[in-house]
Symmetry: C2
Subunit: 311 residues, 2 copies
């Protein structure tokens, strides 16, 4: 098994790669394999559920959240197998949220990363269940002995992910997003919405490495602060893609926010100021990493990548 | 606080009540209060999400699963506050599954316990999110320090609930239920479907008391075996209600299975044999409780209640 070789540490090796695209793709591949193993196909009559879960997670995403977990775990010399399980669990939660978000009653999207969305492919009922199952499975993975021998760590991971994904986090942010369709939000409201909807999951992906590594509070807070700024930069970049991106490259419908009359960072700030703000946030994010010195270079690279990406 | 009085133990007291209806209602009330406290209303703009979550859980259900947790925890002298948190978490999972099950893409039900279903009241998008949020919140509650000081117990509870509720449990059973609409299942297939769809959550509700009480494997297995038989008896009783029940008393549409052409225990066995089978299962369930002697009387009462209920 790729990550099981005791003489070779994936996380250390990834840190030595100089080309960030290779680094990101390599870790994405390890995450994909981990997801495949955690979601094994079987012959039982309900196999279609697993098929839909796999379809929803194994779709060639960039795996930015898992990368954050792997890179932050690397700071504390966490065993790669453990970091990969946590990275996979967080990606399951991210993907379940996309499946439910794409449903006709929600954003009603037919395309995701250039492919039919889960409900287009498997039907609405199966897509709802596949989302539910991915969310549940994520917690099973975190609570599993293989994630960490210390139950305190496992229980902390569950708590952190549940808070980030629940009504005070991601789902609360999606609720705000529904409200944003009928009410025009101002800048602080949009910032809060985005922090909840995407920022908190990004933050927990980063903090997970610190939890796994039993890092000091200082290190954990530094990663949280980094992730907080990164999350906003990420969202501004997403809003810019929705305005400027090409549907084919982005792999989903663009111009949606404007069409829905939703206020975004870009509609409130304009393209130029939004771009400047994202760059500023990335600089700020990286400053929080100073205490890790060059060990955190891959997190700095990711921050730079996030605002340069074209999809 | 009702359950915080150190001189008075709710679980011990409940065991002394001779009228089972009072016992069940009393413990349901304690569960309701716990749910209300865990799902506090707030003034944030996304409050509608909490409102929908509360609507979905605080609807006067019989709280059979929470009762199982409380009664099984009582066997091991678990502190009532801890048992109530676990009972509430399991009920959140049960209620989230009802919210998603009632959606137009799933069973398309307008009524639940005599009230408009969550999506009728709050709209489909909010109902989907409320279900997601309840599921996530359940894991947050289990992982919380207040649930048990030993992180091993918290992590075990998360694992047990995730397995029972996930693709190999409840959600897998719901997938089978969708398949049952287009394929006629035979007796072993129906049994497997029901074990997954309702039996596993009932089993984890029972086992949770043993996990909280750090019970022996023998005690845990006995509770599991009890719950296994109880779960099937419960489902047969449900099928009988669907055939014989009065819509007004049952509080939801009846005759649905027949209309959908779904095979059930009743359609396969006929009313008389199904009733006899349920009674047999209840006797069998109670035999597994022998090692607890009279301490398990409330679990025996519940088993008897389950097949006598009219709603």
């Amino acid at each position: 098994m790729l990550t099981g070789n005791r003489n070779w540490n994936l996380l250390s090796w990834i840190k030595t790669l100089s080309d960030f695209q290779i680094t990101l793709s390599t870790s994405a591949e390890a995450v994909n394999l981990t997801l495949e193993r955690l979601l094994k196909m079987h012959d039982d009559p309900e196999a279609e559920l697993i098929e839909a879960m796999r379809y929803a997670v194994l779709d060639g995403g960039k795996r930015i959240r898992p990368f954050l977990s792997l890179a932050s775990a690397g700071l504390f010399n966490v065993e790669p197998e453990r970091a990969l399980r946590v990275a996979a669990a967080i990606e399951m939660v991210h993907c379940y949220s996309l499946v439910h978000d794409d449903l006709p009653a929600m954003d009603d999207d037919d395309l995701r990363r250039g492919q039919p969305t889960c409900h287009i492919k498997f039907g609405e009922a199966t897509a709802i269940l596949a989302g539910d199952a991915l969310l549940t499975k994520a917690f099973e993975v975190l609570a599993g002995d293989d994630t960490h021998p210390d139950p305190h760590v496992r229980s902390d991971l569950v708590m952190a992910l549940a808070r980030a994904a629940g009504p005070e986090g991601m789902v609360g942010g999606q609720m705000l997003d529904l409200i944003a369709e009928r009410e025009t939000l101002n800048m602080p409201e949009i910032t809060r919405l985005q922090r909840m909807k995407t920022g908190m999951l990004i933050a927990v992906a980063c903090e997970a490495g610190a939890i796994l590594g039993k890092a000091t509070d200082g290190a954990r807070h530094a990663l949280h602060a980094y992730a907080h700024d990164l999350g906003l930069a990420f969202q501004i970049a997403d809003d810019l893609l929705d305005v400027e991106g090409d549907e084919k490259t982005v792999g989903k419908k663009t111009g949606k926010d404007e069409e829905a009359g939703k206020a975004t960072f870009v509609s409130l700030l304009g393209v130029e100021r939004a771009r400047a703000q994202a760059a500023l946030l990335v600089d700020q994010a990286c400053e929080h990493l100073d205490l890790f010195a060059e060990k955190a270079d891959s997190l700095r690279d990711l921050a730079a990548f996030v605002i340069k990406r074209r999809a």
